[in-house]
Symmetry: C2
Subunit: 158 residues, 2 copies
């Protein structure tokens, strides 16, 4: 059994909060975000290919990637990294290019749980409650759940 | 009489909305943001000096500046530019370094009102309603009102 994902979308507020524990230490989880060769192994729903076209994982940096579904349809995402602090916190913007100018900002915090375990806490903030609701309706949950399960495998492979 | 500033902080939502008209065309207002030599003439409350230590006004770029009050106290701010589209829209992150990791995201839209007039509409989104309330309590209004009055002068000087 993999660890459960908790996704919270509070009524009337433009937030999505995500929590997930990992049976791996903080620095390994951080590395799976920092290294684009690892990132593309696990991000997004099962069966998608991920091409990273831009990745400067540092404070003030930026990123862009394209997900390709099994039918070949492409979904591009881009943003900036406001803050990147090793093994601690990443604050980044996020835009699906299919909905231009609807830009959210996410703070991801890594917590050491001891005993070689760790937790990711994500707090995403959208420009409106409607934009938040649209993200939930897009079935982001599948991508989050399946992505973290593949991250478990990346971490297990060390 | 200068044009009035409208600042809206909706109850229970982490937003601040700002509207201000200018007796100058959109491209002149845009230039006053794009050119750091102009920006530092007008941003912030009266009597402060502004030093811009980093300014890449482009999609994926970043900025940092320091305001120095008449007593010599310094207040530093930094962020990234997610989107910069000439004469249209700027989407940027914003952090007061005195409150680290409390990062907002602002979308500024420029509208051509015709007859050489234009409007700035700002929509700022904070990571919590409390952080939004803290920004309002910091008397940001004085900086916005006085800054836009100095921007009027910069625009009048052409």
């Amino acid at each position: 059994m993999s660890n459960a994902v908790t996704i919270t979308a509070p009524e009337g507020l433009p937030f999505i909060d995500i929590e997930r524990e990992f049976n791996a230490p903080v620095d390994a989880v951080y590395r799976a975000y920092a290294d684009p060769e690892l990132l593309k192994l696990w991000t997004g729903p099962n069966g998608y290919e991920m091409e990273i076209t831009d990745y400067d994982f540092s404070s003030g940096g930026r990123y862009r990637y394209v997900h390709r579904d099994p039918a070949g349809e492409e979904f591009a995402f881009r943003g900036t990294f406001h803050t990147v602090r090793e093994n601690e916190v990443v604050i980044q913007t996020f835009e699906f290019e299919g909905f231009p100018d609807v830009v959210s900002i996410e703070r991801m915090t890594l917590t050491d749980l001891g005993g070689g375990r760790s937790k990711i806490s994500g707090h995403s903030v959208f420009p409106s409650v409607e934009a938040r609701d649209g993200m939930i309706a897009s079935d982001m949950e599948t991508g989050v759940v399946e992505g973290y399960e593949r991250l478990d495998q990346v971490l297990a492979a060390g």
